[in-house]
Symmetry: C2
Subunit: 79 residues, 2 copies
Amino acid sequence: MKARVHVMLKNGVLDPQGEAVRHALGSLGFDGVEKVRQGKVIELELAETDEAQARDTVTAMCEKLLANTVIESYSVELV
Amino acid sequence: MKARVHVMLKNGVLDPQGEAVRHALGSLGFDGVEKVRQGKVIELELAETDEAQARDTVTAMCEKLLANTVIESYSVELV
């Protein structure tokens, strides 16, 4: 089973990387870019075949390793 | 209009970051993780309201700045 995890900085947390991208896009002539946030996406291939079990496992992975839950939020999607 | 861009390393390109995550998950006791690939997700807020136009603009941004198309593939999603 494949899972995809999105990890984004929480709203209100400064995102200098996103800000740098926004600035660079402006310099390249792309106008009308109001906001940019950059995050991580992690694709996992799991041996687990049960959907509920897989979701629980991936959520535990996020809490323990993949996301810093103080400043980041995550979402789990099974594909 | 909001757009979300996924940038992943192309298949066949080594992903040491993903490999490190896989290894760390194993060390934490998560068995059955067969493969991990890590990429970037970039969320953009655009002033543009026309969907086709927004997609074209974001594709141009990917080609020029957001993705290194030699080793990375990207996908654009409007939300």
